[in-house]
Amino acid sequence: MIRYVMRRVGLGVLTLACVYAVTFLMTVSVPGNPLQSSERRLAPEVEAALRARYDVDHNGRYFLQLFSGLMRLDFGPTFQYPDWSCNEILAQALPVSVLLGLSAMLTAVLIGVPLGAWSAVRRGVAGAAATTLALLGTCVPTFITGACLLLCFGVWLKIAPVGGWGTISALPLPTITLALPFAAYIARLTRVGMEEALRQDFIRTALARGIPERRVLWGHAFPVAFLPVLSYLGPATAQALTGSFVVEKVFSVPGMGQHFVNAALNRDAGLLIACVTVYAALVIAFNLAVDLVHAWIDPRVRGEAAT
């Protein structure tokens, strides 16, 4: 088990290094001048001075500079927001995204799992309704759901603020908007898993042995059905935690998602690399965590790992 964990951590670090290197290469090779922010053109000598200041006049030097910063967990300055460093921006944005992402994942699991399980067991009208709901969650884009929720609860009913961040009441609307697609996918995964599990021999055996149906469903079928959901939860949580550009924009949530997009558009190399690195680290960490939980729940995985 320990060897398995070590190997996975080592692979994770290697993946992270590759992501970092590729991101760096891409940011320095796209056209566009990161130092130019307005319509006005910088004087050439001023631009040369700035390039020297930020070390962007020499890619090798710039890489060393960024990389040695990374080793100290210092992502350096940003071009677009000179009053803030990348670390400060991440320190402001990450907690926001973590809060929003965790509450959205929690909501998604609480809605999706029971909904999926229920629709697998009861195939009637209830099942169809649950499937429709799940389909809608997948198909309707978040900017539509978000705008509708804002209009209903913010403008007409006035029970939630129209965007912004800083009060508990600002949390539910973006949480629901962000949770819906995840919930829909989780519901589908659970449903498929549950249907699959219910067809298995061991379920028939359990039922034949006279174990109450309720216990068979939740004690025997559900753990098997939950495994694909669990694998999905790792990357999904990482994705939710690092923010969603659309949800953040619609609800004016100061999270990570907007920095991703804006940093790329502004050619803000430092900030972009910082965002990608954090995101990649989260994805790797959550995948690892999910695999470990998997191994803990399902002895077959553990057995594979040992060989």
Binding site: Q36, G163, F251, P254
Partner: protein, 644 residues
């Protein structure tokens, strides 16, 4: 299994609880307005975005202020008007004695010199450094002396660290004022004189120690000379209350510039934030650089609040991408009379959400309503159904640059080097149709570069008419009858906002009226800027906003060699008219010359293709008084009253 689910739930709940600790309710400010994206910087010297300047003009008090109704300069930190010498070249500003910083200290003339000196430092990279370098005597020389030294010190410090340098950097060493000392030192180190341009990597590697020593010497000599050099700039704080500015050429509109927040004074405490190297307040590369955090509001251990500002408001809080909060500066002379005691600029990344917040009563004011259905907003405003939506004509023009300079673009012959072709394309554009049917949001069709009626004292020349027949005739004269022989016309535009539809409409008109074939090339902002800067276009979209109340704020753009002259237009006649206007004593004669200049470049030579002058809708909640709509969207909050 159940164990796993329970552990997972507990972990999630704990996460939510811990993160929830960051959230706390906040008091509502007197005025809350929409700040579309967060401010880029609160350092006035580095500003160029309207939302940044809007905060700066409330935080800092410049020599004069701009009256929001008339846009004319009025007394602020100094008494208006200044004393102007007979030749117009020496201006004496008398500072008011009751000017106070937010820490209670009096505002002095030296604070202004400090602020303006920061503005022209190369490390500041100010968009508006030209306010000082273009007009104040000796400022350009100081700035270029500094830039050159920074170039040399940068190269030397790279060499000292063992990095290779490119040819461009090597040539810096050869052309700089200190080339001699570089050459001598290199000769001493290597025992042989070599041209710095010819330095190979191997030699440089061997010379690392010598380069370090040389860098130190140049650095120390430069640092020692800094203040003596700056003394030659025509900025003089005679005493605490008197600031004398000497100009190198008459600048009759300098009172306007003096109301622009980039010319704000700086409190002495700012200098504590400078990066230092070897005891001198410069970086290793010779740049003047400040710890980026100096603009962020903090309470220091001795109870003082930073940053120290001298305007009617001071900075209380800046939560990145959320809000900036201002409160009245208790030491300001008008502090007791200001009704609006606190202001919050709240970030709304999405314009549609911002409008929803306004409709829900959460914000009081939107400086520009920029929703995707802005034509509907404009209709509501115009019909009088929503008196709180106020259409405001801006001193801003959306236009296209013709490439006047390159005979060939991407391997295709560029017909626009011929003024007749440019004029033909300009004549064949029905601007009325674009403003009325395409944009539908109150923008005015632009027949000239300068929006008529926005600059006091300036009479706009007769603009370019819509005359497709005349256009076809001119095109025939130029050798393209019915558009035959024209290459495919390449139009570059920025894909943001309304530019794509406007570009499509223009292309359609040219195809109809001139028989031209047009290829539209939309690009995302940064890629667009890159193509524009390298002049890889025949026609490219552009915008220009007035910075001050004088025609030169527009016309200088078209001067030969101006850094923002993307069209590459170069006309001796136009330049001569600008120069004549620059030295004219009589204000009326000056305006006449500028009018002639505009007629020459925009109407006769058609260097650019004006399309429309922007109109913006501002939204002010009923009960909020004192936010006067004006063509610069300039909103001082100290005169605002709010009734709930």
């Amino acid at each position: 299994m159940l164990r796993a689910v329970i552990v997972l739930l507990i972990a999630l709940l704990a996460g939510v609880y811990i993160a929830g600790k960051w959230i706390s309710p906040r008091p509502r400010p007197d005025l809350r307005y929409v700040n579309s994206s967060d401010v880029h910087t609160l350092d006035p010297a580095r500003m160029s975005w309207t939302q940044d300047l809007r905060l700066a003009l409330n935080l800092w008090e410049t020599l004069y202020a701009c009256d929001p109704r008339t846009l004319k300069p009025v007394s602020a930190a100094a008494e208006f008007p200044p004393e102007i010498s007979a030749d117009g070249l020496t201006w004496t500003f008398r500072l008011r004695e009751d000017g106070r910083w937010s820490d209670g200290a009096p505002v002095t003339a030296a604070d202004f010199v400090r602020g303006w000196r920061r503005l022209i430092e190369p490390g500041t990279a100010a968009d508006y450094a030209f306010f000082v370098t273009d007009y104040v005597e000796g400022a350009a020389q100081y700035a270029s002396w500094r830039s050159e030294a920074v170039g040399v010190l940068t190269v030397l410090s790279r060499l000292a660290e063992g990095w290779s340098i490119n040819e461009e950097q090597a040539s810096v060493l050869a052309t700089a004022e200190c080339a001699e000392i570089v050459r001598r030192a290199y000769a001493e180190a290597m025992g042989n004189v070599a041209e710095p341009e010819a330095l190979s990597g191997a030699r440089i590697a061997r010379a690392v120690l010598a380069w370090g020593e040389l860098h130190r010497r140049v650095f120390e000599a430069h640092a020692a000379e800094l203040d003596a050099r700056f003394a030659r700039v025509g900025l003089e704080a005679v005493d605490d209350q008197t600031l004398i500015v000497r100009f190198r050429r008459p600048c009759p509109f300098f009172a306007d510039l003096a109301a622009f927040p980039v010319l704000a004074p700086m409190h002495p405490s700012v200098e504590e934030h400078r990066e230092r190297w070897r005891g001198a307040p410069l970086t290793r590369e010779g740049l003047v650089v400040y710890d980026s955090r100096w603009t962020r509001p903090v309470k220091t251990s001795d109870g003082a609040a930073r940053p120290v500002t001298n305007g009617p408001y001071r900075l209380i809080e800046w939560r990145f991408k959320r809000s900036v909060r201002l409160e009245v500066n208790p030491h300001h002379r008008d502090a007791s009379q200001i009704a609006c005691r606190s202001v919050e600029a709240a970030v709304f990344a999405d314009a549609n959400s911002a409008l929803l917040a306004y409709e829900a009563g959460e914000v009081d004011f939107i400086p520009t309503v920029e929703v995707s259905y802005d034509h509907a907003i404009f209709r509501l405003a115009e019909s009088g159904d929503r008196p709180d939506f106020q259409p405001t004509p801006l001193a801003a023009t959306s236009f296209f640059n013709f490439n006047c300079a390159d005979a060939e673009v991407d391997g295709r012959a560029n017909p626009f080097v011929d003024a007749r072709v440019r004029r033909a394309f300009s004549l064949a554009l029905d601007r009325e149709a674009i403003a009325r049917h395409v944009l539908q949001r109150g923008d005015r069709p632009a027949r000239t570069f300068i929006p008529p009626g926005t600059l006091p004292g300036y009479d706009t020349p007769e603009g370019i008419p819509f005359d497709p027949e005349g256009g076809r005739r001119l095109l025939e004269e130029a050798g393209y009858p019915q558009g035959r022989g024209l290459p495919v016309i390449d139009v570059l535009f920025n894909t943001s906002g309304a530019h794509p539809v406007v570009s499509q409409a223009i292309a359609r008109q040219w195809e109809t009226h001139l028989g031209a074939r047009v290829e539209l090339r939309g690009k995302e902002s940064k890629a667009f800027a890159e193509d524009k800067a390298r002049r890889r276009f025949m026609i490219s979209q552009a915008n220009w906003y007035a910075d001050y109340n004088d025609p030169t704020t527009f016309l200088d753009v078209l001067a030969t060699g101006n850094g923002n002259n993307d069209s590459g237009y170069a006309s001796a006649e136009f330049d001569a008219l600008l120069a004549q206007a620059g030295t004219a004593d009589d204000p009326e004669a000056r305006m006449r010359l500028l009018k002639e200049a505009e007629a020459t470049a925009v109407v006769r030579d058609a260097a650019i293709l004006p399309v429309f002058h922007y109109t913006s809708v501002i939204a002010v909640r009923e009960g909020v008084e004192g936010l006067h709509p004006n063509s610069r969207l300039w909103f001082p909050f100290s005169g605002v009253t709010v009734r709930r």
